[in-house]
């Protein structure tokens, strides 16, 4: 007894010190949390989605609280991939973070160019293709819900980089398995699911939408059963592909549920806003769970719930 469980998570060529990551867009560029969280203790930091040129994002209000969740329509505001590589990436490396860069675009060509720049930079461990952002007028989600487009983007990016590729997919097109299979066939090494669900919120007193762009993406504890459903379904159709579960994870128990359903790793999203240290608490909670129940590794519990 008293053996420390093996926390490593292997996602194809990408090996993480533990399976707990912070999700794209919910941890800023990562550096904003440096004073509150030891980034080197996380499995990985997934950055805000990066585009070829700076994006201003959508007009406010951009966020609305909903029952056990929230809607956002940030619109991929970011400083562009060049500023990230020059300004931010060195600070993330200095902090000891394992960096997964989230790549977004309006066109296939934009994904390719952003990915190419990131793969020339020092210190990026993998790329996560955001094929699922619901808050873009063009690109984003449409690439992730039509399997033939998914395959085209992944294949094109695959040509432009040697880095491990993760495809982050959307639940808004129905079943995710077809797009997941297309992504894997085109060269994605892991699938991340789910991105936010389309939703609206209405202000009854002002008689208007609560988001300026009307439609946003729903996240938070409310979406956890949906995320777990999709994880479980995709696990059935892709039994050997590394899967990263994300959606409503707010505790170690939530993360363990995803792993039991077949996730190789788990991302924490909205919960970071409410409790900035939650990801580290989940790492410790997972370690405690394995120790308490006598499991030698994270791998030992993966997929136990079929």
């Amino acid at each position: 007894m008293g053996l420390t469980p093996d926390m490593q998570a292997a996602l194809g060529r990408l090996t993480l010190r533990n399976p707990i990551m912070v999700a794209a867009g919910t941890f800023g560029y990562g550096v904003e949390y440096r004073d509150l969280v030891d980034l080197s203790e996380l499995g990985a930091v997934v950055t805000r989605s990066l585009t070829l040129t700076p994006r201003m994002g959508n007009p406010p209000p951009r966020v609305a609280e909903t029952p056990a969740g929230m809607l956002n329509a940030i619109g991929l505001q970011n400083d562009g991939v060049d500023a990230f590589i020059i300004e931010t990436l060195p600070r993330l490396r200095e902090a000891g973070a394992t960096v997964i860069a989230s790549v977004a675009g309006e066109t296939l060509e934009e994904y390719v160019q952003v990915a190419a720049k990131l793969s020339r930079a020092e210190g990026v461990a993998a790329l996560e293709l955001n094929l699922s952002c619901p808050n873009q007028a063009r690109g984003g989600m449409e690439f992730g819900v039509q399997p033939e487009l998914t395959a085209q983007v992944v294949a094109a990016v695959r040509q432009a980089t040697d880095l491990p590729l993760i495809a982050k997919l959307s639940p808004n097109g129905g079943e995710i398995a077809p797009a997941a299979q297309a992504a894997v066939a085109a060269g994605a090494e892991a699938i991340c699911l789910i991105n936010t669900l389309l939703g609206v919120a209405v202000d009854a007193h002002r008689r208007q939408f609560r988001l300026a762009s009307k439609v946003g993406g729903l996240s938070g504890p409310a979406v956890k059963p949906i995320a777990q459903y999709h994880l479980w379904r995709v696990r059935q159709s892709l039994p050997d592909t590394p899967l990263i579960g994300v959606g409503g994870v707010s505790s170690a128990e939530d993360a363990i549920e995803f792993i039991l359903l077949g996730a190789h790793a788990v991302q924490i999203g909205t919960a970071n806003y409410v409790q900035p240290t939650i990801a580290l608490e989940i790492v410790q909670g997972l370690r405690d769970y394995l120790t308490t129940h006598g499991f030698p590794s994270v791998d030992a519990i993966r997929g136990l719930v079929q």
């Binding site: 867009g25 919910t26 941890f27 800023g28 560029y29 550096v31 904003e32 949390y33 004073d35 509150l36 700076p54 201003m56 994002g57 007009p59 406010p60 209000p61 951009r62 966020v63 609305a64 609280e65 029952p67 056990a68 969740g69 929230m70 956002n72 940030i74 505001q77 400083d79 562009g80 060049d82 500023a83 020059i86 300004e87 931010t88 600070r91 938070g220 504890p221 409310a222 707010s250 909205t270 970071n272 806003y273 409410v274 409790q275 900035p276 240290t277």
Partner: protein
């Protein structure tokens, strides 16, 4: 190479603390209105007027978000600070239920703060409704630093008399207080911005304006000040899921030096902005 404006500001320079603050007292100030006194020495020591804290009294999923509260006063010697709240939502009901001696998870102090304009002789603080607390904190820190001939003038406005906050305390500081209510139930009948217009009519050159209240009021305040050439700082309200500069929910449109526009964050670059920087839609 020139980096975009946002790239130069997204690092968080302030010292902030994530800690469980201990509830010292819920001091009733009016019907349904309380001053929550919290013991958290690091936050009390560093809080500056205009800054805020994120409070989480519960570990519930609904309500989910923490809430930002402007700091009303801070006593570094006693290690306490306080915020003002009205019981009017599920969140504030949970806050009100916190027993003395229990803890409220707190992140702070956060954001920018009011900076005294040292060339001004008249410091005009425009408080709309629940915008009063950070201005009270500012007045209390500013008052002891005033030189001969300098004065603080409080212009306080609300829809009704019972929604005016902290008038006696402003007066106790020795500040002159003028009041406006929409329904005329106390002071001038009309908007507090009418009072500001009147005050700046005589001589705007010796005045500096600091304002907090509804954004519509702040827009008018900013407009009046820009028109008359009075320096003006406003504290903006915005929905704020994280308070840490990461979610970009609290976007505020600003003018950039190159003549364009960009979104800054009310929680990091704000909540206090210089009026000339803001772009109102």
């Amino acid at each position: 190479m020139t980096l975009p404006v946002a790239a130069q500001v997204h690092f968080v320079p302030m010292t902030r603390y994530e800690l469980p603050a201990v509830v010292v007292e819920h001091r009733q100030r009016a019907t349904n209105q309380y001053e929550l006194i919290l013991h958290a020495p690091p936050i009390a020591a560093r809080a500056a007027p205009g800054q805020f804290v994120m409070l989480r009294p519960m570990r519930t999923h609904a309500p989910l978000w923490r809430r930002p509260y402007s700091i009303l006063r801070a006593n570094p010697d006693k290690g306490v600070f306080s915020v003002f709240y009205s019981v009017q939502s599920a969140f504030t009901e949970l806050l009100a239920l916190k027993p003395i001696g229990s803890t409220v998870q707190t992140l702070g102090p956060l954001g920018s703060y009011f900076v005294p304009v040292r060339t001004a002789r008249r410091h005009i603080l425009v408080a709309g409704g629940v915008g009063a607390p950070p201005l009270y904190f500012f007045a209390s820190r500013l008052m002891p630093t005033l030189q001969a001939g300098e004065q603080i003038l409080i212009l306080a406005g609300a829809r009704r008399r019972d929604l005016l906050v902290g008038l006696d305390e402003f007066r106790a500081l020795g500040a002159e207080v003028r009041i406006a209510t929409d329904d005329g139930s106390h002071g001038y009948k009309g908007y507090v911005t009418d009072l500001l217009q009147h005050v700046l009519e005589t001589d705007p050159t010796d005045a500096a304006v600091y304002a907090c209240g509804p954004n519509r009021m702040l827009q008018v305040v900013a407009h009046i000040c820009l028109e008359r050439g009075a320096p003006c700082q406003v504290s903006l309200d915005a929905p704020m899921p994280c308070g840490m500069g990461v979610c970009l929910g609290c976007a505020v449109k600003v003018a950039t030096p190159d003549g364009g526009v960009w979104y800054k964050r009310a929680c990091v670059e704000g909540p206090v902005f210089r009026a000339e920087e803001l772009v109102w839609d």
